[in-house]
């Protein structure tokens, strides 16, 4: 039993799928949270300070996310190694019939996402990359997330980097979401198209939600308000 | 030598039961000491191998394909008969028996056919339990449909892939035994010879088709379930690999070959389109329900597009010749009529070997949608192969060789005249007489494998007195050496022609003179020509490659070599059987309306041929005695 459990590639698939679903859930909340920036600086700053109200919950949550990312990545990497081994001699003309680019490049997009997220954490969470604009406080004494975001995205290169990073995440999701349905055995005859459309729709939603912030900043819709 | 069919005494319905009651048994603990060699893993072979292994015998199963699941039983489309009488339309074991016997034109053994009908129901039970997804009614019960030669609906089917599903059932049963270590499977392994010692079958010599290694396997009994020999005609509905070598080699070692001239021609196949063609594809006969068969009246119109030929210039020859049946004339009659008009030069399509099957009237009468509903999948197959749209232009069809009723002679126990050699399925001659009814082949293969052989092989083994041969026995070595020598001879062949060209030429000759219609002059001509061509084949064939590796040409050369010898026997049998019956139609013997005319006074017997090295084969006759049925004429009017 134990051997079967740890050796089985299917168990790894379940782990990838379950952690993927959880990370997707986090991403959805993250997106909704981000969108509060359009409600003004007070709203987003209040939201940010709320998240940090309890260090126990905050760090518990962060630890959970870390474990999930590690499990997701580790299992995916192990599977990828097994899968590489399953075809030692490559085709000269690689068969691509019937599969999407997203589905064939999950490991690649996943790796890019890892780098993107690492930078993102150093940028907005650790606030190490742009310390000059990251430590303001608003009139209530809260960390001024609003100004940090707006000032960051006023730099076109950084905005572009974020948009590409988010695009990568959503590209990953466009296959990942429907793939999770298959891995978890939740696909039934007649619902296949519905599931792939759902995956596409949620990916597009997250992309729009996430990238709307840098775009809005660049187009001057979100501006620094004199505090 | 007198052929003893070992048919049990007593009334028909009790023969098999009484026989079973008297059969010798082997103690379960002793069974594993015995080994049965099963060659071929189609319906008969796989079911026999699985059942014998389940009982506890050691089993070695051999097939030339890369997996046991690929045997050509897999291609059977229509269905499998059984006397379940689920539709309550008056079916019974007796009716199934009688229809099969009558369909075979009273040239099969009464007791064997009765047993086949008796066992038919258990086959359905067994298959369903294995998970064969037969068609079902909404209520959850099994569905039946009607099939040719019967007035009841007794055919069980799984869409158009009944053979596939039944074979997968048997293959999975065999796989289970292989997984349990009870059976050993040798794929990509071809039988080259039978080992016979003191007149008994003791083993086989096989060639590993990957390494080329030739070895002997010895067993306490040998089962040949290697299918039919339709590929003697080169083009047939058989798989390319189907061959007669196993049964032919057994025949050369003393097993009698029964009724080789009984071959079945299917009227609705897609015609030959070019010289390189390798296969004829069967189209369901149901097409003739709505299609009208015709050819141009004038030879010069044959090259024209069918749409440009006016109604008056068309010859609806089936409707003309058989006004009451029209396009639904029986298989053999329709086939021969098509050949006749093509012989007159009025055939259509490449090579002039084809007739139109026209749906224009049906489309006008029923509408495009209805025709599509009835025959859409067949029109698709036709389009796939010919790239022609049968909704717009008529289909072209032509008869093709489909099944061979003849095979090695076996007694009631399915044992040949060589003790220890059992023959099952299409490879034996036993149950279909001179013509096989639709949906009977699957029934016979599985009855043989699941229910007859497991008992009769046990009976034979229980009476064994001598131990299994060691593979270093002189006779094994001799057979291996002969096979090695034979392979070497072929591999060194450096003539000017390919194996395929000879096979094609042999096939054409056989088809021409010993196909749908046979007559003395043609058969005599054929009998003179085959040996000459065979001689050229042996001298002028070109092979390349090695003996110790995959070499399809080498395999084919040896198979065609055997086909040449078998063709001569078919020809001799067709000449000898101076009557028409079932699939054997001698032009000299027909009723005024073109039906086969039997000669029961002279030919109510099985013709079993004995091989004589260097001489003419010797005919042994097993009289066919009908205790409880009357030999009526085959009349479906």
């Amino acid at each position: 039993m134990n051997q079967l459990f740890f050796k089985s590639s299917l168990v790894k698939k379940y782990v990838v799928a379950l952690t993927g679903v959880a990370l997707y859930g986090f991403l959805l909340i993250h997106t909704l949270g981000n969108l509060q920036i359009f409600l003004g600086s007070a709203a987003i700053n209040a939201y940010a300070s709320l998240l940090k109200a309890s260090p126990e919950i905050l760090w518990g949550f962060r630890a959970g996310l870390l474990v999930m990312v590690l499990a997701h990545g580790l299992c995916a990497a192990l599977l990828a190694i097994e899968n590489r081994r399953a075809r030692p001699a490559a085709y000269e003309r690689i068969p691509k019939f019937g599969s999407t680019v997203a589905s064939r490049t999950m490991l690649g997009t996943g790796s890019v996402i890892l780098i993107f997220v690492a930078y993102h954490i150093f940028h907005f969470t650790v606030r190490a990359t742009h310390p000059d604009i990251s430590f303001f406080h608003d009139s209530h004494g809260r960390h001024d997330v609003y100004s940090m975001v707006v000032l960051s995205f006023k730099q076109p290169a950084l905005s572009l980097f974020y948009i590409v990073g988010v695009a990568c995440v959503c590209f990953h999701l466009s296959h990942g979401v429907s793939s999770a349905f298959y891995s978890l055995g939740m696909v039934f005859a007649g619902y296949e198209r519905l599931i792939s459309r759902f995956a596409l729709a949620v990916s597009v939603f997250i992309f729009c939600g996430m990238s709307s912030v840098p775009i809005a900043v660049m187009f001057g819709i979100l501006k620094l308000v004199p505090s | 030598m007198k052929l003893d069919a070992k048919t049990p005494l007593g009334p028909l319905p009790q023969k098999w039961g009484r026989h079973c009651a008297g059969i010798r048994l082997v103690n379960p603990a002793n069974r594993r000491k015995y080994e049965v060699l099963v060659v071929g893993t189609g319906l008969a072979g796989a079911s026999a191998a699985a059942s014998l292994a389940e009982m506890g015998y050691g089993v070695k199963a051999f097939c030339y394909q890369d997996s046991a699941r690929r045997a050509h039983s897999i291609a059977a489309q229509g269905g499998i008969n059984a006397a379940k009488n689920y539709p309550n339309d008056g079916d019974s074991v007796w009716r199934l028996f009688h229809d099969t016997l009558k369909g075979g034109d009273f040239r099969a053994r009464e007791a064997n056919v009765y047993r086949l009908a008796q066992l038919s129901n258990a086959i359905i039970d067994q298959s369903v339990a294995q998970g064969v997804p037969f068609a079902r009614e909404y209520g959850g019960g099994l569905a039946n449909r009607s099939f040719g030669g019967a007035q009841v609906s007794r055919t069980f089917y799984a869409r158009g892939q009944t053979g596939q599903q039944l074979l997968l059932g048997a293959y999975q049963a065999l796989a289970r035994q292989v997984g349990l270590g009870a059976a050993k499977l040798f794929t990509r392994t071809e039988m080259l010879d039978l080992v016979v010692v003191d007149g008994r079958a003791r083993g086989v010599v096989v060639r590993d088709m990957v390494t080329g290694e030739i070895t002997a396997h010895t067993g306490d009994a040998v089962v040949l379930a290697t299918g039919g020999y339709g590929n003697v005609y080169d083009l047939s509905t058989n798989a390319r690999g189907c061959n007669a070598s196993a049964i032919w080699r057994a025949h050369r070692k003393g097993a009698f070959f029964a009724n080789p001239c009984y071959t079945q021609i299917h009227p609705t196949c897609i015609p030959v389109s070019g010289e390189g063609q390798s296969k004829l594809t069967l189209m369901s006969e149901s097409l003739r329900n709505d299609g009208r068969v015709w050819v141009p009246k004038r030879v010069e119109d044959c090259g024209k597009s069918p749409a440009t030929i006016p109604e008056d210039d068309r010859d609806y020859f089936l409707e003309r010749k058989y006004p009451s049946y029209g396009n639904l004339a029986p298989r053999d009659i329709s086939s021969r009529a098509a050949k006749e008009v093509c012989d007159q030069g009025r055939g259509v399509g490449p090579g002039g070997r084809g007739v139109y099957l026209d749906f224009a009237d049906a489309i006008e009468r029923l509408g495009h949608k209805e025709v599509e509903g009835r025959y859409g999948n067949l029109f698709d197959i036709y389009h796939e192969i010919t790239s022609e749209d049968a909704y717009l232009a008529p289909m072209r069809i032509y008869p093709a060789v489909h099944y061979t009723m003849g095979g090695l002679w076996v007694d009631y126990n399915l044992m040949s005249n060589l003790p220890g050699l059992f023959v099952a399925g299409e490879a034996n001659f036993s149950d279909h007489g001179a013509n096989r009814l639709g949906a009977s082949a699957l029934m016979q293969g599985l009855a043989d494998g699941y229910f007859i052989l497991p008992l009769t092989v046990g009976d034979y083994i229980a009476g064994l007195t001598s131990p299994r041969l060691g593979i270093d026995h002189a006779e094994c070595k001799k057979s291996v050496d002969e096979a090695v020598h034979r392979v070497r001879g072929w591999i060194e062949a450096k003539g000017k022609r390919t194996v395929a060209s000879f096979h094609r030429e042999l096939g054409k000759k056989m088809w021409e003179y010993c196909g749908m219609a046979r007559e003395r002059g043609g058969l005599k001509k054929l009998a003179g020509e085959i040996p000459v061509l065979h001689e050229e084949f042996r001298k002028n064939t070109c092979l390349t490659g090695h003996a110790n590796g995959i070499n399809a040409m080498l395999e084919q050369a040896m198979r065609v070599d055997d086909f040449f010898e078998l063709a001569q026997l078919i020809c001799a049998d067709a000449l000898d059987r101076d009557e028409s019956c079932g699939g054997h139609f001698r032009v000299e013997h027909q009723t005024p309306d073109g039906e086969a005319k039997r000669d029961d006074a002279r030919f109510a017997h099985v013709s079993a041929w004995e091989h004589r090295a260097g001489g003419a084969p010797v005919l042994h006759k097993e009289p066919l005695v009908y205790e409880e049925t009357v030999m009526s004429g085959r009349n479906y009017k």
């Binding site: 599977l79 075809r87 030692p88 | 050509h72 067994q126 369903v128 099994l142 049963a173 490659g545 070499n551």
Partner: protein, 250 residues
């Protein structure tokens, strides 16, 4: 038609292979692809060269023997066909068609285009059956099976075991093959008793044979000559998960 075939030639299992180009200046468009290969082989033999080894048998798309990746797709151009159902007319004038063997660790090349697919047989031997010995079956109509259920079982049972799913999968996974068998027997009441064992054993054997795992790219479904649905994969994943849980509970 003027076409060229670039065919993989490999002498032995571990030998180094290479592509060899063969010209067909006047290929008959109505020939099947395999008939063109027959013609090629006849030509090669007369020239004193070794013919190209390839698997084939029934030539009507049901035995599953034929293989090869033709022009980047297993079984060649066209939907729901096997190699033996591919016709020369599906190519274009002047095409150079690359013909490769199915490539997977579990399918070692034996010679040229011939690969060893016995791993699929061993997966079936591990559990792809109903353990019902001959003679022990109940009356066929004793257990009703709804038509819809029987139809679904058939859809999965239509697999011909050709291995195209493995050939096309970027992970060389046999998941669709395994899932089809688990589904076929899993739908039917006859297959229930062994449903968990079957899922566990067959999946385990697939791993042992060196096949990769499923990334749900669904390329297998797209190339399957019999149109086996990838929903069977979801079913297998479900059965396997239940089997794991129920085994843990025992």
């Amino acid at each position: 038609m003027n076409i060229k075939l670039r065919v993989w030639r490999q002498e032995k299992p571990n030998a180094k292979g290479r592509f060899v180009v063969y010209d067909f200046p006047d290929a008959d468009p109505n020939m099947s692809f395999l008939e063109m290969m027959d013609a090629l082989n006849n030509r090669l033999v007369l020239q004193g060269e070794e013919p190209v080894a390839f698997d084939h048998d029934c030539r009507e798309g049901i035995c599953g023997a034929c293989s090869a990746v033709i022009g980047g797709k297993p079984h060649g151009p066209g939907k729901r066909i096997t190699t033996c159902q591919a016709y020369v007319r599906a190519f274009r004038e002047g095409d150079v068609i690359t013909v490769e063997p199915f490539r997977a660790r579990a399918f070692p090349v034996l010679k040229d285009l011939v690969v060893d697919r016995s791993a699929l047989d061993r997966i079936v031997q591990a559990g792809g059956f109903v353990s019902v010995s001959t003679g022990s079956a109940p009356e066929a109509n004793a257990i009703p099976v709804a038509k819809e259920v029987s139809d679904k079982a058939f859809d999965a049972a239509a697999c011909i075991g050709c291995g195209a799913c493995v050939a096309t999968c970027k992970n060389a996974s046999a998941t669709l093959f395994v899932a089809a068998k688990i589904s076929h027997l899993g739908w039917l009441p006859q297959g229930q008793a062994e449903r968990s064992r079957r899922a566990l054993n067959m999946v385990e054997q697939m791993g042992k044979e060196g096949f990769g795992s499923c990334s749900n790219t669904l390329a297998c479904e797209a190339v399957c000559p019999k149109g086996i649905s990838a929903t069977n994969i979801a079913r297998m994943n479900r059965d396997f998960a239940f089997a794991l849980v129920s085994r843990a509970g025992q």
